[in-house]
């Protein structure tokens, strides 16, 4: 008898639970012309990428608010449906699955970090959605055969440092740096930038004295720094995201290492960076997609709006998200629709064939979504970020060798 009850209990609970799961299904989906256009986005608002993730969120929000203030998109309001993926690829897939399958959003936009972009883009691809993303720069992203993906920034990770390489080539032979050391996070984006630069520096005959890869969870950098410092290399290259760059630089300074050139990806463009490393920023270089001072018309409007609202100019992450919004907006306006189904393929086709003017300049893409431009190079000078390359965008003279930190 008892076994029977047991089964009955188990059975009822299971059926009830399955039925309940069914009940949570949303019943949205119809897209009348007055309904808002809903854009589904999954972002890492907590976890490893929380810092840049929230910056991206501000950028998307700024875009939606500005569009709505200007009368909306195709006359409809834009509504962002943002969910948190906790920096976890399992979650990111479930999130997009839910946004597309259950919430029936009209458009999707990309998450942050190359690591999360690939799984997310696959979901979008398999549901036939166009996928514009602000932060998947690594080469791998574009080798997956996606034909629905567009990276809304000027260049892929491997090419971020190209302008710096040109500048080194332009130096007189005798003044050029001759040795380099690399400390790189095991992360597709960080590796892309650092090893893209490494390949080009080695091509110039600059010798690699150390190359350390560390896991994304590393917090103890003294050992790594000791290895870098012992080389006394002219150049130190950090393939970094954010906090690891801060830790690296502090540890290198503790060990008394003074490179002539310090090149770090991502972190130096973050507004918190100077405080975090205790102010000794002078001379540090970083590639950036964006400068608030750029004269593109849409950028002037964006910076003005953003500064009025947040009391600070937008940084790179905000700008990248805003750019993503601009790209989607341009495609939707050109094609004249925003919904799931056939419309998505029209958006994809239009983006493959056209150039979009954005806050980071005009963008166009190859068949796999690679943007066809180059990143700016910035340098910290007197506590401020100055664009130093390319020459036509430069706001300051490139300082080499850098001052002691």
């Amino acid at each position: 008898m008892k076994k029977k009850q047991l089964l009955a209990v188990a059975g009822t609970v299971a059926v009830a639970a399955l039925a309940l799961t069914g009940c949570t299904a949303g019943d949205s989906g119809d897209t009348g012309s007055d309904d808002p256009i809903r854009v589904g986005i999954s972002l890492p608002l907590t976890g490893d990428f929380a810092e840049p993730g929230t910056a991206i969120e501000r950028g998307y929000q700024a875009w939606a608010d500005m569009v709505n203030e200007g009368g909306g998109l195709l006359g409809r309001q834009v509504e962002l449906v943002i969910v948190d993926d906790q920096s976890n690829p399992d979650k990111v897939v479930a999130d997009y699955e839910k946004l597309i399958g259950q919430d029936q959003v009209d458009l999707v936009a990309g998450p942050f970090s190359s690591r999360l972009v690939i799984p997310a883009a696959r979901v979008a691809q398999e549901y036939g959605m166009a996928f514009v993303e602000p932060a998947g720069a690594a080469a791998d992203v574009f080798n997956q055969g996606f034909d629905n993906l567009f990276y809304a920034a000027p260049a892929v990770a491997d090419d971020h440092w190209n302008h710096l390489v040109e500048a080194i080539v332009a130096m007189p032979e005798s003044e050029r740096p001759t040795t380099a050391a690399y400390a790189v996070m095991d992360d597709p984006f960080a590796m892309g930038t650092a090893y893209g630069l490494k390949a080009k520096l080695e091509g110039l005959g600059i010798e690699t004295l150390a190359d350390v890869v560390y896991p994304p969870t590393t917090t103890e950098f003294t050992d790594i720094a000791a290895k870098i410092a012992a080389t006394k290399a002219d150049i130190v290259v950090g393939g970094t995201q954010y906090q690891d760059a801060v830790n690296q630089i502090v540890a290198l300074r503790q060990l008394g290492y003074q490179p002539k050139l310090a090149a770090y990806s991502a972190a130096p463009t973050n507004p918190e960076f100077a405080n975090a490393i205790g102010g000794a920023t002078d001379g540090i270089l970083a590639p950036t997609a964006y400068t608030p001072d750029a004269s593109y018309p849409s950028n002037v409007a964006f910076v003005e709006w953003y500064t009025a609202k947040h009391d600070a100019a937008p940084s790179e992450d905000e700008a990248n998200a805003y750019t993503t919004g601009q790209v989607i907006q341009a495609a939707v306006e050109a094609v004249g629709c925003a919904e799931q189904g056939e419309c998505q393929q029209k958006l994809v086709d239009w983006l493959h064939g056209n150039t979009v003017d954005t806050v980071v300049g005009p963008l166009s893409w190859d068949a796999n979504g690679r943007p066809q431009g180059a990143h700016l190079i910035m340098q910290w000078q007197d506590g401020e970020i100055k664009i130093v390359f390319p020459a036509d965008a430069a706001e300051g003279e490139f300082v080499y060798p850098k001052a002691a930190w």
């Binding site: 089964l7 399955l18 979650k91």
Partner: protein
């Protein structure tokens, strides 16, 4: 001859089975279907964990190690050696079985606490190794596993894998059920209740424990391999996840580790509960607090799980048993066990 109780039991089982198998037809949208696949994965992993946890009483909190090895094994065989998807799945599970033998010998050599340490350490070291072997596994950049059915649309893909996972879960359950009823199973439970006495009675405890360890590992590897085929992207940090392991344990404990359907019930409750929590409270770190809280409550107040607790509750509202013949040997044994446990507790209380 079929007794009434037996008929009711079989009918209930059939109804549930039909409801589950037809789920892809009546699931309202592909997202719910994919959530169903996730619950099935949990149920499978938790049931496979229960071969060791339930029968021998050894609690592994590194069970995801086998899941991860199965997933990466399958993924690497397909992506690097071009072996057909489902052949890769079974080859990988067999390899995991071979790996489980020496690991099991080391882990089961010393009792209790060392077992826990070895299982955690194995999981953590595998996470590092699969990050470290970046040339082979792709490291933190992840491994992309080609789809077995490239022509299927995503909703169809989910439907197919829902059925495949259901089949794997059924295999798990039938195997557990068969062992549970066998003399072999009885001896395993003797190990759980008192390993020294079991050994004194002539049960080769080590071989018994090891066999369960390997079976449990292979079944988890199959679940992992299927996961690789279904999900398509592997990342060491998330496949060899300690949290994932603990979910398997939590689910088994919630349902009841001494019961065939305990882990499945736990997976449904925890999996569906998590979905509701997310809908109600959004995605905050509070889900960790909730998971931890649930685990603590179960460990402190309900270590035998929901099934015995619910059964006790129902019994309270039933008339007393009318016929002595309805008490089975198993029930007597259970009653005896509980009686003993009560005495233990009293002694300790002094």
């Amino acid at each position: 001859m079929l007794s009434v109780s037996r008929v009711v039991r079989i009918v209930t089982l059939l109804v549930v089975a039909v409801a589950v198998v037809t789920f892809p037809q009546w699931a309202p949208n592909p997202y719910i279907l994919s959530a169903g696949v996730v619950v099935l994965i949990y149920a499978t992993l938790s049931t496979s964990w229960n071969f060791v946890g339930g029968f021998t009483g050894y609690m592994s909190i590194g069970h995801a190690a086998w899941f991860g090895l199965g997933a990466y094994g399958t993924g690497l065989l397909i992506a690097r050696l071009d072996i057909p998807s489902f052949a890769a799945l079974f080859i990988s599970a067999a390899i995991v079985g071979l790996i489980a033998i020496p690991v099991g010998l080391a882990a089961l050599r010393v009792r209790g606490i060392s077992f826990v340490i070895v299982t955690v350490a194995l999981l953590l070291v595998l996470q590092l190794v699969f990050q470290g072997l970046a040339d082979l596994t792709g490291g933190s950049q992840g491994l992309v596993v080609p789809r077995p059915f490239p022509d299927l649309l995503r909703p169809e893909h989910h439907a197919v894998f829902f059925l495949i996972f259901t089949a794997l879960l059924a295999v798990n359950l039938v195997a557990w059920w068969a062992i549970d009823r066998s003399r072999f199973g009885l001896r395993l439970k003797a190990i759980r209740e008192d390993e020294d006495k079991a050994q004194a009675l002539g049960i080769p405890t080590r071989a018994y424990k090891l066999s369960m360890f390997v079976v449990s590992g292979v079944l988890a590897a199959l679940a992992g391999g299927l996961y690789a085929l279904w999900f398509g992207d592997l990342d060491p940090i998330f496949v060899f996840s300690i949290l994932f392991s603990v979910y398997a344990v939590l689910m088994a404990l919630v349902g009841g580790i001494r019961h065939l359907f305990g882990p499945v019930l736990g997976a449904v409750i925890v999996g569906v509960g998590a979905e509701f929590f997310k809908a109600g409270f959004g995605d905050t770190q509070l889900h960790l607090v909730l998971t931890g809280g649930l685990l603590a409550v179960v460990v402190l107040f309900m270590p035998d799980g929901l099934i015995p607790a619910a059964r006790d509750l129902i019994d309270r509202f039933r008339p007393q048993q009318s016929s002595i013949r309805e008490v089975t040997v198993e029930q007597l044994r259970e009653a005896e066990r509980q009686g003993n446990a009560g005495i233990d507790a009293q002694e300790v209380g002094k």
